[in-house]
C-alpha cells in the first residue's frame, strides 16, 4: 500500500518535471520583450521619480542634492501647473464628448446601405491617418488663418467679420483639430461593433413589433456598451498626451490658454531646463493617466478572463 503511494508521487513528480522541461523555453521567449519594456519604460519612470526629489537645473549646475518635497511645493503654488491640469482635463472631456457623439452618429449613418458607402466611409476615415503635425499646420494656415484661411473667406462671403480662431478661441480650435482626427477612429470602432450586432435578436424584437427607437435603445446600445467603453478609455489616454497639435499651432498660448500638462513639462524641460520641477510635474501626469488607466486595465483584465471561459 505504502509502496504504491510512493510510486504515485514519484510518477507525479516525474510528470511535473517533464512539464517543467517542456515549459522551460517559454520563459526565455518572453524575457527579451519584458526586459526591453523594463529598460525603456519602467527604469526611466523610476528615474523620473528620483529626479523629482532632487535639486537639478541644467542652467544652475552648482545647485545639487536632495530637494525633499520642494519641487512638488513649487508645482503646488504654480498657477500655470493648475491651469495646465485643468486644460488637460478640459481637452479630454470635450474631445471625448465630441468624438464619441459624432462617431456614433457617423457609425449609424455609414451602417445604412447607400450608394458608394464604401468610398464615402473611406474618405471620412482619412483624417485619422494624418500625422498630428500636418493636422496642426493645415488647420492653422489653411482653415483658421484670420486673413487667408477658408473660414475667414466663408465669414467674409456671408458678410461677417472674420475671426482669428487661434487667438480668440484657442482651446476651441485645439479641440476641433483633435476631434477631427479622432472622430473617424470612434466611428470605425463603433461601426465594427454595429456590424457584429446579433441579427437573430434584432429579428426577434422586430417580430414583436418593436419600433426603431425601441430597437436602438434595447438592442443596439447595450451591445455597443462594451465597444463604447473601449473607445472612451483608449481615446482618453491619447487625449491626455496631446502635444503635436498644440506645438505646431498655438505653442501653448496665447499666454497659457492652451498649455496642457505635456506641453507644460516640455517647456519646463527644454525652455527652463528645470529637471527637478519637470520631473515632479511628470509624476503628476503619470498619476493622472493612471487614474484613467485603472478603469481600462480592469476592463482588459475582465476581457482576458472572459476569453478564457470561451
Amino acid at each position: 500500500m505504502a509502496s504504491t503511494t510512493t510510486h504515485d508521487t514519484a510518477t507525479a513528480r516525474a510528470a511535473a518535471r517533464r512539464e517543467k522541461a517542456r515549459r522551460a523555453p517559454a520563459k526565455w521567449l518572453l524575457a527579451p520583450a519584458v526586459i526591453f519594456l523594463l529598460v525603456w519604460m519602467i527604469v526611466p519612470l523610476a528615474m523620473t521619480g528620483y529626479y523629482s526629489f532632487r535639486n537639478y537645473n541644467l542652467m544652475m549646475p552648482s545647485i545639487t542634492g536632495w530637494a525633499g518635497w520642494t519641487n512638488y511645493k513649487i508645482l503646488w503654488s504654480d498657477p500655470t501647473f493648475w491651469s495646465a491640469l485643468g486644460i488637460t482635463l478640459l481637452i479630454v472631456m470635450i474631445c471625448l464628448a465630441v468624438t464619441v457623439g459624432l462617431g456614433l452618429a457617423l457609425a449609424l449613418l455609414f451602417h445604412r446601405n447607400f450608394v458608394g458607402r464604401g468610398v464615402a466611409r473611406t474618405l471620412a476615415v482619412a483624417p485619422f491617418f494624418v500625422m498630428p503635425v500636418v493636422t496642426g499646420l493645415i488647420w492653422k494656415n489653411m482653415l483658421f488663418h484670420p486673413a487667408y484661411g477658408l473660414l475667414a473667406w466663408l465669414f467674409r462671403t456671408l458678410g461677417l467679420e472674420p475671426i482669428d480662431w487661434l487667438a480668440q478661441f484657442p482651446l476651441t480650435s485645439i479641440v476641433t483639430m483633435i476631434s477631427w482626427e479622432w472622430t473617424p477612429f470612434a466611428m470605425l470602432v463603433l461601426l465594427t461593433g454595429l456590424q457584429s450586432l446579433p441579427e437573430d435578436q434584432l429579428e426577434a424584437v422586430r417580430l414583436d413589433g418593436a419600433n426603431k427607437w425601441h430597437e436602438f435603445r434595447h438592442i443596439v446600445i447595450p451591445h455597443l456598451g462594451q465597444v463604447l467603453y473601449v473607445v472612451v478609455m483608449l481615446e482618453s489616454i491619447f487625449f491626455l498626451t496631446s502635444f503635436a497639435e498644440i506645438y505646431t499651432t498655438t505653442s501653448g498660448g496665447p499666454g497659457t490658454a492652451t498649455t496642457n500638462l505635456p506641453y507644460y513639462i516640455f517647456q519646463g524641460t527644454f525652455v527652463q531646463y528645470d529637471i527637478g520641477v519637470s520631473s515632479a510635474a511628470a509624476i503628476g501626469a503619470v498619476i493622472l493617466a493612471n487614474i484613467f488607466a485603472i478603469f481600462l486595465i480592469r476592463f482588459v483584465a475582465g476581457n482576458l478572463n472572459a476569453g478564457e471561459a470561451r
Partner: protein, 278 residues
C-alpha cells in the same frame, strides 16, 4: 426587397446624400491641402481662395530638390519606422507565442502589465531618457529613436499577435509536440504560416504609428536623425511663406500612410482596442 432595391429606397437615398456630405466635409481639409500643393506660392497665399488655376509641380519640385529637405527626413522616417517594426516583431513573436501556447500562472499578469506600460505618458519618461541619451550619445541618433518607437509599440504588438495566436487551435501545437517537434520547429512550421496575415497587419499598424509619431522625434532629434514630422513642424512659423511648399511636403508625408491606413482599417481597430473589438 432585394439589396439593390433597398439601396435606392427613399430613406436610403436621403441617408446617402447625408453620408456623402459628411464624408466630403471631413475630407475637405485634405482636399484643400492637395489643391494648395499644386499652386504657386503666390496663388497659395491669397485672400480669396483660388479654385481655378494652372496646376504646377513647382512646389513638389522645390520640396524634392537637393537641399529642399524632404529626402533626408523621408529616409529617416522610412528607416526608423521599418527598423522599429522589424525589431518589434522579433521581440513580439516569441513572447506572444510563449504566452498563447504555454500559459503559466503569471501570463495574465504579464499581459496586463504590458498594457499598463502603454499608459505611462511619454512626458513621464521624457526627462531621464533625454539625459541618458545625452550622456551615451543617442541624442539625434536614429537608433535611439528606433528603440523608443519599439518600446512605444511593443505592448500593442504583443497583444495583437497574442490575440491572433489564440485563434489558432491548440490541438495543432499538441499534435506537433506528440510528433516530437521541438518548440522552434512547431513555431516555424505550424504557427507562423497560419499567423502570417495577422503578423502582416500587426507590422502595418506599428509602421503607421511609428511614421506619424512626433513627440519623441521633436524632443530627441535635432537634424541628423529627424523624421518627417520634424520637417513639417519646421514650417510652423512660416507666416504665409512657403505655404505651397509646405503643402507639397505634407502631401508627400501623409499620402503613403493614408493609403496603407485604408488597407489596414480593420486591423487598426483590432490592434488599438487590444483585440477587444474584431
Amino acid at each position: 426587397m432585394s439589396a439593390q432595391a433597398k439601396r435606392f429606397s427613399g430613406a436610403n437615398i436621403a441617408f446617402g446624400v447625408l453620408g456623402w456630405a459628411v464624408a466630403l466635409l471631413m475630407f475637405l481639409p485634405l482636399i484643400w491641402l492637395v489643391v494648395t500643393a499644386f499652386k504657386t506660392e503666390a496663388e497659395a497665399f491669397t485672400v480669396t481662395p483660388q479654385l481655378f488655376f494652372e496646376p504646377t509641380l513647382e512646389s513638389f519640385k522645390a520640396a524634392l530638390a537637393q537641399g529642399g529637405g524632404y529626402w533626408h527626413y523621408a529616409w529617416n522616417s522610412v528607416f526608423t519606422a521599418v527598423a522599429s517594426t522589424l525589431i518589434g516583431l522579433v521581440l513580439t513573436v516569441p513572447a506572444a507565442y510563449a504566452m498563447a501556447f504555454y500559459p503559466s500562472k503569471r501570463t495574465d499578469f504579464t499581459l496586463v502589465w504590458m498594457v499598463s506600460t502603454k499608459f505611462i505618458p511619454a512626458v513621464g519618461v521624457l526627462v531621464p531618457i533625454f539625459l541618458v541619451y545625452k550622456t551615451i550619445g543617442l541624442l539625434d541618433n536614429v537608433w535611439g529613436l528606433i528603440a523608443l518607437y519599439t518600446a512605444m509599440n511593443l505592448p500593442i504588438m504583443i497583444w495583437m499577435v497574442y490575440s491572433y495566436f489564440r485563434d489558432i487551435p491548440k490541438d495543432l501545437v499538441e499534435a506537433a509536440n506528440i510528433d516530437g517537434a521541438s518548440m522552434g520547429q512547431t513555431m516555424r512550421k505550424v504557427i507562423l504560416p497560419l499567423a502570417t496575415p495577422g503578423l502582416a497587419s500587426t507590422g502595418l499598424l506599428a509602421l503607421i504609428l511609428a511614421w506619424n509619431e512626433s513627440f519623441w522625434s521633436i524632443t530627441m532629434t535635432n537634424h541628423a536623425a529627424s523624421t518627417l514630422p520634424v520637417y513639417i513642424a519646421s514650417f510652423k512659423s512660416a507666416e504665409g511663406m512657403f505655404w505651397a511648399k509646405m503643402s507639397a511636403a505634407s502631401v508627400l508625408s501623409i499620402a503613403p500612410i493614408i493609403v496603407l491606413g485604408w488597407f489596414a482599417q480593420r486591423q487598426m481597430v483590432r490592434g488599438l482596442t487590444f483585440g477587444a473589438v474584431k
